[in-house]
């Protein structure tokens, strides 16, 4: 699509992602998202630090890379500024979805499956990681995501997993839209390209299947820290 062929594309996708959640952050009656900014930004900062370091290493090793045609051209530590923003805007929007469904969906439909599903998915991911240890993206992504899920099952044992999966499922709609464009749907070249030697080569549309679990890890890590800091704030 002609109108997407701009060096502002990735920046615009960031703005699009955060637009409505940011606009609705200031109402106090239902969610009071701004009142939760303390725990939220602590969670975003810690999770972001981990993802940025990982991202820098993968970018420098050519596991993936960024297309300058769709970037404003400002790099910080080898990462485009838009990629830095990604680790802020995406969690900001996804935790907003989480808060909204907690407030407006009365029932926790997935409460019972939250823990067993985490165990099952965690085991599958860790096994797939070990089976694909020569593919850097598959290995590290599945290991981190699967390991983190197992840590939730065995150690943290939180009661928000049902709510998490419910809101992540909603978030996936936005994920397929934004990440679809990022990986090349509807544009001439992908904004983010992937070296297929380092992933399974299975794509959902243009999106590498690993990305679904990368997103899950990103949001779950943010949510776990967010809930932890929220608990601290109360006590």
């Amino acid at each position: 699509m002609e109108w997407l062929e701009t060096k502002y594309l990735y920046l615009l996708l960031n703005i699009f992602t955060i637009s409505i959640p940011f606009w609705r952050s200031f109402e106090k009656k239902y969610i009071d998202y701004i009142g939760k900014w303390g725990p939220l930004f602590k969670a975003i900062a810690i999770t972001g630090a981990f993802f940025i370091i990982w991202d820098v290493i993968f970018t420098m090793n050519g596991v993936w890379g960024f297309n300058p045609n769709y970037l404003v051209g400002l790099d910080v530590f080898h990462l485009p500024i838009e990629e830095w923003l990604f680790f802020i805007t995406i969690p900001y929007a996804c935790l907003f979805i989480y808060e909204v469904q907690k407030r407006f969906v009365k029932e926790d439909y997935l409460a019972l499956m939250g823990k067993p599903f985490s165990l099952l998915l965690g085991l599958i991911l860790v096994a797939s990681a070990i089976g694909n240890h020569e593919k850097a993206y598959t290995f590290w992504n599945f290991l981190f995501c699967g390991g983190f899920l197992l840590v939730h099952y065995f150690i943290i044992r939180p009661n928000f997993l049902g709510r998490f999966y419910f809101s992540y499922a909603i978030g996936l709609l936005g994920f397929f839209f934004v990440n679809g464009i990022l990986t090349g749907t509807g544009i001439d070249e992908p904004v983010v390209w992937y070296n297929n030697d380092e992933n399974l080569g299975i794509r959902v549309g243009t999106i590498p299947v690993e990305d679904i679990f990368y997103g899950l890890l990103l949001i779950l890590m943010n949510l776990t820290l967010y809930e932890y800091f929220k608990g601290k704030q109360k006590s």
């Binding site: 370091i53 290493i57 090793n61 240890h133 850097a136 290995f139 590290w140 150690i155 932890y228």
Partner: protein
């Protein structure tokens, strides 16, 4: 291969030194603020002290990742050595000694009883200063001798 196995075990035991050193001079020093709630318990399952697991996970992750991305070179085995130490530390310190999980509750090996006794001695002191027995897997001989003496037949 032998070289890599050596690197792995050397790293493992170097981490015991690092744990002792960090515990004595950093945790009971500059970062006492993170370690304090391990000596003076506060409500809740997690302790600020658990942050040290995350801190020590960083070098393990980075060594392993760089090693694997460069044809599984020696850095992989440094990373795995740190990881192995972290797992053992967790099992010994958090499961066997502090019983944060009800896993294998019936271990009576004199070696583990010595470790537990030594660590309890460390915990006699609630404050930052005047600590003793900062090691985890390597503790003074007297605790082993005591454990052997009190062993039930």
């Amino acid at each position: 291969m032998a070289f890599y196995i050596f690197i792995f075990f050397a790293t493992f035991w170097f981490m015991e030194f690092m744990a002792w050193f960090t515990h004595k001079y950093v945790m009971h020093g500059l970062l006492w603020i993170l370690h304090k709630d391990h000596h003076q318990h506060e409500p809740g399952f997690f302790e600020k002290n658990d942050a040290f697991f995350l801190i020590f996970a960083i070098p393990s992750w980075l060594f392993t990742m760089f090693g694997m991305m460069n044809g599984n070179d020696f850095r992989l085995f440094i990373g795995l050595g740190i990881l192995a130490y972290g797992i053992v530390y967790f099992l010994v310190h958090d499961v066997l000694i502090h019983r944060r999980f009800k896993w294998f509750d019936n271990i009576k090996s004199p070696y583990f009883r010595a470790l537990r006794k030594a660590h309890k001695i460390h915990h006699k002191h609630l404050g930052k200063e005047h600590g003793e027995v900062f090691g985890m897997l390597i503790v003074p001989k007297k605790y082993h001798q005591e454990a052997l003496k009190t062993q039930k037949p």
